[in-house]
Assembly symmetry: C2
């Protein structure tokens, strides 16, 4: 099963415009997007836990690090010495870079193209005895996988804010039928789980 | 209080592209947008009832009727002889047309500009002893009122479908802080109520 967890505004943005090393979520009211993760931890404990636990992960180039045209080899991601993934992470990138491993079982492997990344992630999850691959983000990467029909379950964490601009989930994704699997709200966020129908 | 009820897809569309007299909601999987109104009536009875009951209504030109460049005076709206509004309805239009009244207390008055329509609707609601004006739609009209800061409560009925194109809520609306007032889901729809913060 391929899942994705994405925190979005009610107008569908997962990040604001002008993302940078200093502002990984870009400009605007972007703190409101992930406020639930910090202020709502107990009420949303199940959803927070569900973001982890996959057998492998796939993420876009910008989610791994700020794009400076090529890789700064001293950059090992936003997450410090012990990233929370604890599993193989496949980073989509046109730039070549050697794989490396950090503490806690997280490795980063750089792959050009969503299909090769998908195949490697499925194999890595299976090798770890897991049936779940998580598309970690950002929205542009999720949109590519949605458009390719490669996502089974969308877990959207919808925050009460209109961002107005930025990186939008579903941008240029063709029409898709969904089944609403569950819906649960706290005062800060609504957690929606949708199954993608084929 | 100014409210709006809008049925939208998870990607924020309230209608598909190419709306016409034959297809008022346009092309695409638009039946999925309002399926909850017909198949989920009992489970969503409170939300359905809440769409009505305002002291007056404002709607866009396209919600009143298909745009043929001017008014076809034999056209009295999509709703037959006894429209469900039972209150004054103000239709935004650049074309002039005399007001008229239908059975059940619904009248249609044609007004050029959102501010004049807003003032007339507030006065009409007050005259009827109501404190509520409803922006009936479509999304383009709701967006104009949102951008002007004239909506207090957003009631979104989110259906499990990705439409991919059409008329989008929040299109060109600047950033807005919301408070999540309530959230309730049935198997077919999630009902979100947001208060607009100023």
């Amino acid at each position: 099963m391929v899942t994705t967890d994405l925190s979005i505004s009610i107008d569908g943005f997962a990040a604001g415009p002008r993302q940078s090393a200093e502002k990984p979520f870009g400009d605007g009211k972007v703190d409101a997007l992930i406020r639930w993760m910090f202020e709502d931890g107990e009420a949303s404990a199940a959803e927070l836990a569900g973001i982890g636990g996959a057998g492998s992960y796939i993420m876009g180039r910008n989610m791994f690090g700020p794009d400076r045209g090529s890789f700064d080899l001293s950059w090992t991601g936003w997450w410090g010495d012990t990233p929370p993934y604890g599993a193989p992470v496949f980073v989509l990138s046109h730039h070549e870079r050697e794989s490396f491993e950090l503490a806690g079982g997280t490795s980063f492997t750089f792959v050009n193209g969503i299909r090769p990344a998908f195949d490697l992630a499925v194999a890595a999850a299976q090798a770890a005895g897991s049936d779940r691959v998580a598309i970690a983000g950002g929205a542009t990467t999720v949109n590519q996988f949605l458009a390719a029909g490669l996502i089974d379950e969308l877990r959207l964490h919808i925050s009460p804010v209109v961002l107005g601009s930025g990186e939008r989930l579903f941008d240029r994704v063709p029409s898709v039928d969904l089944e609403q699997v569950s819906s649960r709200a706290t005062s800060l966020v609504t957690h929606q789980v949708y199954r993608v129908l084929r």
